[in-house]
Symmetry: C2
DNA sequence: AATTTGACAATACGATCGCATAGTGAAACG
DNA sequence: CGTTTCACTATGCGATCGTATTGTCAAATT
């Protein structure tokens, strides 16, 4: 493999990633139907036909964009602390706080993820099926497993892990999702770091004994 | 006003309501951009031009549909119990449970409301501005006032009422919103009455002292 | 009974959608 | 250096979008 051989492949990869980043944003903002190949190309400052060239169909572009987004999510997961890493009860509670904070921070820095999640998860269809099979099934399993572990350590209240997971997920992501609304209605920016940390603290305070 | 005078006016009102019900569903399912005048007309089993005749533009139809939806919401609010109606502490806690259950029940029976809320609240724009000014501002004020009252009665943990409101709202509506996803991934129907009541109970248990 | 009103339909307009096809020109290869 | 590969562009197709215009016919008015 010479140096010049990489020139084209490198440029190709750059272009593809540029398109994917634009696609993730547009899909998250507008939803699948309302997003257009043209608007995605415009966001990436490229021609529409180029997007079509690299990703063929709109559905395929959506899938690749989702894969791209989830790959970033998994890099976060690798950095999360684990409950098994610590022993004392105080440390475990602190780990729970760190995990919740990491989740809400990721959600803040990736509003696209929240947007795509909420838009696709709420109505049945082929895209939800694909999303469940390729990403969400595993995510839910990991999530419920974490909840169950935390419960067995006495960190979370009793109850079906799946329900606890949904309650916590909603409590964490909802304030962030409706931040534009809250900002508009009250002038308060709920997406600030202070607000988000406060949200975690309030929630953790609820979850205590 | 004769009998025959009402014939046309009545039919007009029937047609308008038929269109509005269809519009609410379509807008909630697809979002504003993806929803089309044609699909709304088809859902109402009417011609596209008739929809245009009654509501002029798509934006105007959306606003009227939202007004129609909120008018149903307000009939629910009128039936809600109030904290000031009871005196003993046990009764107050029971009222809180009833209020939360009424909210989640309404959300279940009006998925369109949840859909429109989540779709419009998450991204800034002229429609969000309109929604805030005409409905949400008042809703948020009422909500935070209720939270503050419940806090003063020792029913909810301390903290900014707006944040508590968002946390509770998210914890209640999220499980319902992602019910299609949960159903697909685990086979469990989180939108069942039992699951929803359990969600309220779990949440209330968290909110206790 | 003659006339006006208004709920509704038929049709067309320009714009934009996803997608397909035919090039173009520089980088990679033998 | 001649040839092939391929990232990228130009152009156009049929379908559908929101909207405007005009016509129709029964109900309401005078």
């Amino acid at each position: 493999m010479t140096n010049s051989l990489n020139r084209r492949a490198l440029r190709r990869e750059e272009t593809r990633e540029k398109i994917l980043r634009a696609a993730v944003r547009i899909f998250a903002e507008l939803g699948f139907e309302a997003a257009s190949m043209g608007s995605i190309a415009a966001r990436a400052d490229l021609k529409k036909a180029l997007v079509q060239y690299h990703f063929e169909t709109k559905l395929n572009l959506w899938q690749e964009a989702v894969n791209f987004l989830w790959s970033e999510l998994h890099t976060l997961e690798d950095g999360l602390p684990r409950l098994s890493d610590f022993s004392s009860h105080d440390d475990e509670r602190e780990i729970l706080r760190q995990v919740l904070r990491a989740i809400i921070r990721f959600a803040k820095s990736h509003p696209d993820w929240v947007g795509i999640m909420f838009r696709e998860a709420s109505s049945p269809g082929p895209r939800l099926d694909w999303l469940v099979e390729n990403h969400l099934k595993r995510d839910i399993e990991d999530g419920t497993a974490f909840i169950a572990t935390a419960q067995s350590h006495g960190l979370l209240p009793e109850g079906p892990p799946l329900q606890i997971l949904n309650i916590i997920s909603g409590a964490l992501t909802y304030p962030l999702l409706v931040a534009p609304l809250t900002k508009r209605a009250t002038g308060i920016n709920m997406a600030s770091d202070e607000s988000l940390d406060a949200t975690v603290d309030i929630l953790l305070n609820m979850l205590k004994p």
